[in-house]
Symmetry: C2
Subunit: 354 residues, 2 copies
Amino acid sequence: MAIANQAPVPDVMHKLNNHSEFAIIRRFFATSKLSFPREGIELGIGDDAALIDVPANKLLAMSMDVLISGIHFPADAAPSLIANRALAVNLSDLAAMGAEPYCFTLGLVLPESNGKWLADFSGGLEHLAKQYNCPLVGGDMSAGPMSISIQVQGLVDRNRAARRSGANVGDKIYVSGTLGDGAIALLALGLDSHLGSGFCLSQRDPSAVCRKFFKDAYFKPQPQIALASVAGKLFSSAIDISDGLQGDLQHILDASEVAGSIRLDAIPYSKSAMCCVGSENRLLAALFGGDDYELCFTVAEKDCIELESIARELGVRVTCIGDINAGEGMAYLGANGSPIELTAQAFQHFSATT
Amino acid sequence: MAIANQAPVPDVMHKLNNHSEFAIIRRFFATSKLSFPREGIELGIGDDAALIDVPANKLLAMSMDVLISGIHFPADAAPSLIANRALAVNLSDLAAMGAEPYCFTLGLVLPESNGKWLADFSGGLEHLAKQYNCPLVGGDMSAGPMSISIQVQGLVDRNRAARRSGANVGDKIYVSGTLGDGAIALLALGLDSHLGSGFCLSQRDPSAVCRKFFKDAYFKPQPQIALASVAGKLFSSAIDISDGLQGDLQHILDASEVAGSIRLDAIPYSKSAMCCVGSENRLLAALFGGDDYELCFTVAEKDCIELESIARELGVRVTCIGDINAGEGMAYLGANGSPIELTAQAFQHFSATT
């Protein structure tokens, strides 16, 4: 773990005022809009534990993400956007398993109790919770340096979970959406990137349209739940691209004990990325940037037509960017199909900064 | 939420070094001692989500607690003790539902990566995880001000969960173990208590035996899993005493829409509490102190003999401290059974400090 910008830790013990905590939970979280009933949720907020049912033909998928103020989101961002991002990145993990959202729990740590902040934050959660029929069922609150822990629970058909280990030689490698936007968004929002000082916008002032696009890309990533729930049965493996295509696809290759080749010119970019960033930095953002919350998945060649047909019907962009091969490691291919050694300055730079 | 000792929040964005994070997880958490196989755990650490099975005759109980350094534990405490406390307080919530531990997830936020700290912390988790056959199946790591989010999952027979809402008029009120030790431990460990300046030890230097007892009470609370799993079927309602008997029992009374009466002289205290604290402060600690992680539960009168027999066999102390009555609110009774108005200075003091 690389450490920087570390906040001093308070060293005096402090007992929470539970009365206020319970009042906050009742007012902002145990509400009919956020902690709504759902079939299978036997008991939600208000007891020592939530109680949920899992249908006999399903497995329960669980994923936890912790977001720290000043690291995973700017401390002064709008609370509804922070909430949206926190829940969306968790839902993206469910999509990567081919699981349907079921319910979530929230561990909220705040330096102070602010009614407006809490109302906006709760409203941001409500939006996604309703959209995916995924109510809040429990959690914890504490005073402290701001952080948000969310655990999402999802349901997935037995033997249908899209594990990282299922890629087979001959499968096609796909990605959903466009890549690199999460990393470029940091630049557009004036935030620090880990990609180094050479990673910069090609124009000083992006247009209002581009700024809006990148703000949404960062704070409102769209978890690919619909694609995963309809087409997940065709994924031989899947992962969500939270750390950059290179690292995340490598997890699939390692777990599946296969090699992969990527056609660099097939990587899909958004219009805003094309507009605001030069080609080398776009590639850097796509391969090493992270925060895209798109899916990288593999599909048997025989299933590709069906996959692309489903994606078209859903209006979700999917792009075949390469192949699974025998062996190990990842090869990058140029436009003519010949291997490209990624020893360019950008990648040396990346190696030096991580 | 009462706020104090707030740590400044870093305001510069920082991207984690994922390579180090993965290495830490592999070395200290995705180990055979902590992330061990268990029937029903289909997929543990290492994918986008864990996958677990829930038997058709069971419900899944889930509880999350977030512990903040400097608030819920001293920052400089031994990492194995911090780990023990963090997992134990979560397991206590499962006991309060009558649920059997199944697996847990961990969100660990640390200001720096320290191999010795991580090894000791992981070792502290291993101990309880093994004891209760409750492996680590996933989670998240981040740099930031130290905090520990744990979500425990448990299994409970359908219709056997001990909800807060099940107490009936005529039931007997029981507690496990002894009360007040968690709050008195803060004094014995030299930490701040929220019970005010009048809450103090009756002797300046507790004996080594008492200090050891209170250190264990604070860092190694014993979740009443065995009692709950064997005798939970006899609980009409249950809660764990994390906030003090008064507030926690009141949750049962509210949820069950009943009244309760407590015989003050029946409240069980440890020898160390008897030795180190005066009678009024002992009562204050038991009723308002919290951090005891014992169970408060109700049992139908016809089941009391069986309950006490089971407890004897398990070697777990249980004490009948009162009755569930019709109406609402809580009454405190003196030795002769007459009501005691708790308007003494101690309780006024408590009211003023919360």
